[in-house]
Structure formats: C-alpha cells, structure tokens
Symmetry: D2
Subunit: 322 residues, 4 copies
Amino acid sequence: MNFFLLIFLKSVSSEEKRIIYKVLTYTSLKDSSNIGMKDWIQMAADIEKHYFHYDGFVILHGTDTMAYTASALSFMMENLGKPVILTGAQVPISELRSDGRDNLLGAIYIAGHYCIPEVTLFFNNKLFRGNRCEKLSADDFDAFHSPNLPPLVTMAVGIKVSWESIYRPTALSAFRVHTELNRNVGLLRLFPGITSATAHAFLQPPMEGVVLETYGAGNCPSDRKDLLEEIGAACRRGVIIVNCTQCSKGSVKAYYETGSVLLQAGVVPGLDMTPEAALSKLSYVLSLDLSIEEKRKMMRTNIRGEMSVLPKQEVPGQLQEN
Amino acid sequence: MNFFLLIFLKSVSSEEKRIIYKVLTYTSLKDSSNIGMKDWIQMAADIEKHYFHYDGFVILHGTDTMAYTASALSFMMENLGKPVILTGAQVPISELRSDGRDNLLGAIYIAGHYCIPEVTLFFNNKLFRGNRCEKLSADDFDAFHSPNLPPLVTMAVGIKVSWESIYRPTALSAFRVHTELNRNVGLLRLFPGITSATAHAFLQPPMEGVVLETYGAGNCPSDRKDLLEEIGAACRRGVIIVNCTQCSKGSVKAYYETGSVLLQAGVVPGLDMTPEAALSKLSYVLSLDLSIEEKRKMMRTNIRGEMSVLPKQEVPGQLQEN
Amino acid sequence: MNFFLLIFLKSVSSEEKRIIYKVLTYTSLKDSSNIGMKDWIQMAADIEKHYFHYDGFVILHGTDTMAYTASALSFMMENLGKPVILTGAQVPISELRSDGRDNLLGAIYIAGHYCIPEVTLFFNNKLFRGNRCEKLSADDFDAFHSPNLPPLVTMAVGIKVSWESIYRPTALSAFRVHTELNRNVGLLRLFPGITSATAHAFLQPPMEGVVLETYGAGNCPSDRKDLLEEIGAACRRGVIIVNCTQCSKGSVKAYYETGSVLLQAGVVPGLDMTPEAALSKLSYVLSLDLSIEEKRKMMRTNIRGEMSVLPKQEVPGQLQEN
Amino acid sequence: MNFFLLIFLKSVSSEEKRIIYKVLTYTSLKDSSNIGMKDWIQMAADIEKHYFHYDGFVILHGTDTMAYTASALSFMMENLGKPVILTGAQVPISELRSDGRDNLLGAIYIAGHYCIPEVTLFFNNKLFRGNRCEKLSADDFDAFHSPNLPPLVTMAVGIKVSWESIYRPTALSAFRVHTELNRNVGLLRLFPGITSATAHAFLQPPMEGVVLETYGAGNCPSDRKDLLEEIGAACRRGVIIVNCTQCSKGSVKAYYETGSVLLQAGVVPGLDMTPEAALSKLSYVLSLDLSIEEKRKMMRTNIRGEMSVLPKQEVPGQLQEN
C-alpha cells in the first residue's frame, strides 16, 4: 500500500538546527494512482492553512503520480516563499529493504535547513524541481529524473545546493493558493498512422486544453492535411493545444517544415516542459480569468521555472546559421 | 532535411571482409515525421525483393519516427535470417559537424561483418534491438536508448557483441514479409483527472487496438468506476487494450489493487514493451487471421524479442513473498 | 570513526528465509587506513575457524582500503564455497543520514539468500566481485565501481543476480586459507619525465614484486633506454613486474611498439586487473612455493575471476587485422 | 601510430565565421608515451612564437599522456588569453572507424568560435579544462573524464558553453611561457603494507617534489610511525609532498585522525587536484624563484583552475558540525 500524509516542519534557531515537526495524517490513505485534482486541492489548502506556523512542508506521496502532483502544486501555489517537498518510496517503508526511510529523512533535512521556496520532489538523494521531473523507472530506487534541469540539491557525504538554479518569485505579492482547476484537459500522443478520426474524437468538446506529444523537436506529419485540419479547427474554436516532445530530453523548436505547420495551425510551442507539467499548467491557466490569447501567451511563458529560458549563446541550432 | 534511402550490402569472403554495397534511393525523400504505414510496407517489400541477393540491409531514416519504423518492421518480417539495420543522424550528414557519417559507417560495418538476424537500430556506436528502443533526446548525439535491454553491440576501440542476447527464430520457416497492417490503433495515456468522456471518445469504433499508458508498474485509478467501466466495455466489444507503463524503465506487473483492476477489465499486460513496440505489434497482430483470444494471447507473448522473459531468480517482487 | 567487525550468518530453512546471525567484534576497532596484512590474515583465519558453522560471512570495514582487503581475501581463500561480503559506509552509521544501515542490511540479505561463493563487496545496492573493484569517490554514496566487470547483483525493487558471472572454483578441493603473504611488493606509476634514478631506487631489493602502472593499453616510453634498462635489470634478477594500466577502464595489450618493449624486458601483462588486485595477487603468488617462471605464469592467468578471459569475438583490436 | 602536430587557427570576421588555419607538423612524430618535458617546452615555445598571429591553437596529441601534457601546458602558460586545445583519437584517423575526424573538427570549431582562454582538452564532444582531466578508458571513445569539474563545453545538436566556469587570469599581465621545469618529482601511491624502506628509497635526493596518492579523503595509516617518520623527514629536508586521493572523484580533507597526521608531518593538502595536475604543478612551482614556504603555499592555492574553491554552503562535511 502506498501512503499519503503531510508533515509540517518547524526548525528552531539556525545555530542548533534541531528540526521540530508535526505529522498530519489523512483519515483515508490513498494509493497514488487514485490521487486526483480534488486531492491536489486539499493538499494545497492544508498547506495554506498552516503556512504561517511552519518553515517548510513535506508531503508523503506514492510514486506513481507524484510528478503530476508536484507539477500541479507548483502552479496552484502562487508566490510561494517556503519549501514544499514531496517524497515517497519504491519499496514500502514497512519492508526490511526500503528506500522510504532515507527519502523521508532527506526531505525533512532539506526542508529544515535550506530555504528553497519551490515545490520540489526528493528522491534517492536528489532534490528536483517538482514541475521538471518524471517517473523514470518502475523498478529502480533511482525512480525519478529531471531530464532538462539538473537536480537543485545533491546529497552525498556533503550536500551540494545549486543556489543559482533556485527559482524565486519576482513579484512582491503574498502567498496564496489557487484552488480552481479546469478538468477538460488531455494528452494526445502522435504516432505514425494516427487517423484523423482519432484526433477528431479526442479534440471534441468539452475538451479545452490538450498536450500534443509530438516527435523529436516538436514535429508532426506535415503532409497529413486531414490531421492538421482537425488540429487547426480545434485551435480556431478556442482549444489550447501545447506542443511537447515525446522525447525525454530536449525541447520543442520550429526548425523544420514538419514543426512549423503546427505553429501555423495555432499550436503553442511548449519548449522543454514535461507532459506532466504542461498538462497541469493547462488545468491551472484555463481556470484563470483571462482571455484566450492571454492564456496562450501564459502557456508559452515561464511562470514557475517549468521551462528553460535559454541564454543567447546556448540557442540550439546556431550551426544552421553559419 | 532528413533523408531516407536503402543500402544493400554484399560482403565478400570472410577473409577479406571487403563490403560490397549498392544504394537504392527512393525518388521522393521524406522527413521521418511523414513516414507512415505505407512507407513501412514499401521498405519491407523492397527488402523482400532483394532478400536473396544480399547479406544485409541498411536503411537510412530520420530519427523522429525511427523507433516506430524499427518496431513495425520487426513484426512484419517473419523468420528474418539477415541483419536489417536502421540508422540516421541528429545533424544532417551535409553539415560540418554531423553524426551521420559515423552512424552510416558503423551500420554498414556491422551489417557486413556480423550475422545478427534482427531488425536493429544503430546509433552513436550502439546497436539496439529495433523493437526495444525509443528516441530519448531531441538534442543529443546519444539520441536513442533501449531502456529494458542492453545494446546488442557496442563499438569502441574493439567491438563487443552480446551474442547471448541475439534473438533468433526457432521455427524452421522461410522468410516472408507480412504487408498488411491494421490502422485502427491508438495510444491513450492516463493522467490524474482524465475524464471518462475522454476515454469514451477515444475508444469508439473504428478503434480496434489501444496501448494504454498506465502509471508505474501498470497501475490505474482503482476507484474510478466510470473510467474502468469505459475500459471494460471496450474490451467486451473486442477492442484489444494493452497495458504499458509511462515509465521509460521497468515492467507492467499486477501486484497492487490498482493494477489488477485492469486485468479484471480484460486489459492485456504488456510487460516491458515500449509503447512504440506495443502499438506496431497491435497493428500487426490485428491484421492476422486469428480469433480475438488468440490475438490477445499473442499480445502478451514474446514473438520478436520485444518483451523480457524473466528467469525464475529474477522475478521482481520476490521480497513480498518472504 | 570507521568500524570493523565480523558478522556470521546462519540462515534457517529456505522456506522461511529467516536469517540468524551472530556478531563478532574485534576488541580494537581500526580505521581502514590502518588495516594491513596482519589484519587480512586475522580476518581470514577467523572465517576459517567458523567456516563450517555458518552459511555466509559479512565483514564490516572502512571504505578507504576495502578494495585492497577484498582483493587480498579473494586470493588468500582457496576453494571458497560460501559468500564472504565486505561492506561499510561513507557516512558513519551513527549519523542521522548514513548509508551504513542500507549497506549492512543488503549485505546480510544477500549472504543469507544467495549462494555466491566469492569474496565480494556490497555498496549502494550493488554487489561487486571483490578483486574487481576500486574506491571511486571520496564523497558520493556510490563510492565503489567495478570498471571492467558489471555488478554480480543489483538490488532495486526486485533483485537481479547475474548467475552467469559468478565465479566458482573448478577443482574439487577443500576450502583452506593461505595465511602467508609477501610484503616486498609495491606500486610504481609511470609519468612523463620519470627519472631512471626513481625507478632504480624503487626496484631495489628487498623489492620482489611491482605493479607498474602504465599508460593506456599498457604502454611505456619506448625511447627511454635508461628506464627500460632499469626495468629489464629488475626482471632479470627475479623481480616480478606486472603491467597494469593507469586508466580505470580497459585492458593492457601489446599492440604498439611502446607496449611491446615491456614484454621484451620481461614484464608480465596484467590484462584488466585493477592495481589493487594485482598488488595483493603478487603478495599471494610470491609467498607460494613455486619457481619464478610458475609465479610469472600465475600472474598472467586468471585464478579468482580477477581478470577477463575474452571470448574470440570480443578480442579487442580485431579491426587492425582487416 | 599516434601523431603529433600543431594547428594554428585564424578565424575571419565574426559574421562569416570562416576558420582559416595553418598546419605545423613536427619532423619527428612521437607516440604519446614518449612525450616528455622537452616536448612540452617545445610546444609551449611554438605557441609563444606564433601567439600574436593566431586566435587559437589546436594540438594533436596521442591520448596516453595527453592529460599530463594538458596539465603541464596550463601551468607553463602564464596569463593565457587565447584557446589552446589538445585533441587526438582512440582509433587512428587513418582507420575506417575513427574518432579522430570528429575530435579534430570539434576542436577547430571551438577554437575558432569561442574565446575560452584556457589550456583545454577536447574529446568525444566534450571540452574539458586540461588540468582537470584524466584518461579514463583504454578502450572507449569516451576516453577522458574530468571527475571534479563538469565539461566547459558540450557539443550536441546545439553547443552548450558553461561560461560561468571558464577560468580567466585576474592579473593584467602579458602572456608569457615559463619554459623551465623541475624534473625531480614523482608519484608515490600508498597501499596496505607499504614498507618504510619503499618510502625511504623513493623520497631520497634528488627527489624534490612528490605527489602522495592517499586513501579516500586524504588518509594514510596513522599508526605507522615508521612510514610517517620517513614522510616527515623528507618534508623537513625540503621535499614538497602533496596529498592527492587515489579516488577519481572527491577531495582531500583533514577530518579524520588518519588524515591530519599528514598535515602535521608537513604534507600539503592537494584538495581535488588530479595526480597529473599535481605532478606537473610541482614541476612548475619547484622551478620558480621562491622560498620553500612560498612554493608550499602555491601548491595549496588555486592558480589555473586546477582545484575547486568551494563556496561556503558547499563545504563538505558540514553535517559533522551539527
């Protein structure tokens, strides 16, 4: 059985570094496959309720949907100023051999010692940004990875914090939790031979936001007029479609003809967002009181560190220009 | 521009090891995003036509859908007795810095020297079984990986062949190409909050085969009666649904309640097949003249090395039995 | 403080798999930097004393010299039929964050469940052959590696044993411990500009065996007559010099002129032995009652799985022959 | 045969990025095992001679001693303001399958496009700081690593430069080449059972500088009075002994009793310098006109980016202080 509870931390003076914590257990513990939007809202609301009495928060969560929950919480929590760390175990903590003890200890240690005001995920001695990671393996203790951003913290004999990578809100606004989410979102993965009937059925109302998992650097079949017509029609009637790559590593670009046809059809480039992050960002953005164009713009803009903003010298593909 | 052509090899005497090859170029070169079932059939047919005149075949293919094509060809080619190697480049071979030259040379070298009678994919000094790999990265030269099977060949200063891993047909039958494929297949990825309306729309006729991308070791929300009902109804009306994990590494099992509800609904466990392999296997199996139960059985059985058959001592989860 | 004690295991019936163990603590615990030949002999003697009453042995050992001890014990224990596993911790087991608990539990688990009749080293969920590993990192929990042989066991959610790699004695002889070791051995590392005076001083009596850490695939400066003369003279007066590479990965060969001059001087090729293994093997072999030529032959022959015996198709450098 | 030549580059306007280069070939090409201090001095002198006529320099060098040469050149070149890149091949460039073409092209490309004013080593699509790397493998194309510093440049489809890691001289002084080096240096590796006679012989005059390869985080046997006495005596008579770890990764510290005895004996902590860097730094420092104490201080101070200067929050072992 997976488990699910919240631990609130309060560290004492920075000299002593003794971490005081309190455990909040939900009455009904859930397997993480059963975690849904209602649960995200409850977790976020509980953190909001206790926000000013604690210095950090650790959430115990099953591994299966932990990357989805971490992504969703990162968008729901606006102007977060304290660490919120999700962790769990590949082998239940009640077993002889379990990674649960080390993961729990490490998460509490970081929450109590370092001010990393992000929603993060701690696993196997690495702290990842929550909206950057994916469950990599169903079998290994090294279960998560963050393919396009190195870990924020690495724990070994010493502890290495990449302070330059920590994301901090730039606005001087108070912490608040956004508890509305739009459920009419979905993931559609391209594959050779996908029929336009499949795309048509998937993009029907009430669908409002779709993560389109494309090939390579954001490509789709440019010679499939029927498919592109379905995608274009959905965009025109207000569905927000975000282009994310099926590859674990790398980013959506618009080099090739095969990628630019999606741009022309109205699809928003998702750069290097994970599908998990793009999907929960869609749920969040679609629930905001904004125009459709403002929402599309928000989808292609970095708001919680979920996508890489590349410095000039690293712009990929510069070789083509030579 | 990606490219697409066939090279046929004929090696001379094993002493000399001089590789004679002939190039066959298609009149219309395609970006790999535009490769579809019709192209798979043409490639397979062309290999069949020249099968007895050459010792091996190298196919140049864009990277975006190469793993899909490799999977599809592996199923379409029955009783294959010669190497068929796909390769390509992350940076076009016409650029100054390109991985295309090394990939092409390496693929020809292997095709001309080693009898590896499988459909394989050669990239960045590694030869993978074709139906085991995925495009991992949109940016790196190390673009492909084979998460659940080590490479068959590793090229360094020396060349290391894992002969014990080479898959060979056990039946004494002649090589033939199966050129029919069923197009009514699709990929549906679970995510928290997926609506039953989405599943319903996706599973409608003419859909006949679906790869369901589940959580972790094959789990789905066990408390979502509405969703399970849609899945169960599809299975009952003859849709073949195969359970594959969203994780890159690892295998679908049936430990938890959250996994076994899918079994009960009639979903076929896909073990450690990649979604690419499962999808093209569905296209192949659905086109065979078999009963629905025979097709389901074939989907959960290893037929081209596409899934791991675990020896006893490696059965995962044995700790639970103690 | 590092620690040092022995745990003896006795597993009950294979059905129940309950592991009974007994702890033997040395009165004076030693930092592993202080472990020497006398300690190796004591550990080996203690295992010999209790050999028939237990099914396996776990030795707790500091990490700094653990690879040396594991190598030495592997040679001293002749016809070993039970698991002897060394383990330890990068962070002391008394600390909050420590890898000691998991390493200890894992080592006991393997010793109690699997018949792997070798001297092995367990660290960070991997079981390595003892005479194949090196301390890789002073900082990371992943402290050891086995550069030229994959781990014998990998522990994750499931446990994967590479049964085909387990080394078993082929002679039907009784277990015995060889408790004599020759101390007149040393390691000499080549570097550009090494003077013949340095080599001369190092190779003086009472030195009897030297591991020469060469460049790349076993190369030394072929144009340094003075240096080669010192090496040749030492070989002629009976010093056994073994050629091991400074590179972590790879093997000593004799391609280049620069490598073959050492062969001509009388140096024994050490193939892919680690310096740790080669050094303790020298200590062992030099203490045997054999002729100098028999000792040299033993040094270039695999006796405990410490060097790779390559199958024909993997012979490196075959490209040169084409 | 390995090869050895110099290529001088001159890039034209930054818009066109066309790289003009000139090749300088030595009359006698040397296997890199035969490269010594005289060759280092010649290479450095040749670069000094052509320094003002070219924007960058590429040196073709055999792999075996390339890390030693790169380290030595980094110290010999004072106030370097232009890129000096060493590269080579695991398989000769004349072979069908060779990494030499890509390594050469990549090195020229970087030298012509980026101002990285360091002595660096380019191999397998990675540019390393020269005094940070080691030859890792005798067999793989990925032959070098830089265990304690990530690559300065990574080449994939795009090119990623870690500008924040580039080392630049802070003094406003003119480039000059220091062409004197002290040859009386050596490497002594600790091992269990090392005799004081071995240490005594090795530390005898004319030896002036020794890299002592210790265990783990810089430890040596603290209970070996005889050995420590030999080391202390050498320090007292003016030999500079630098403590470097045998581990590939990690740094020499002074936690344990077993490490601090070396400090007390007068040994200089080498932090995370590679043995290659420490040895060539010794050759350089010993040839300067400084007092013995100034030389010792220079050995423990970062002068060319060869050792990590840790920011406060990353000081290893902070856990011990809690």
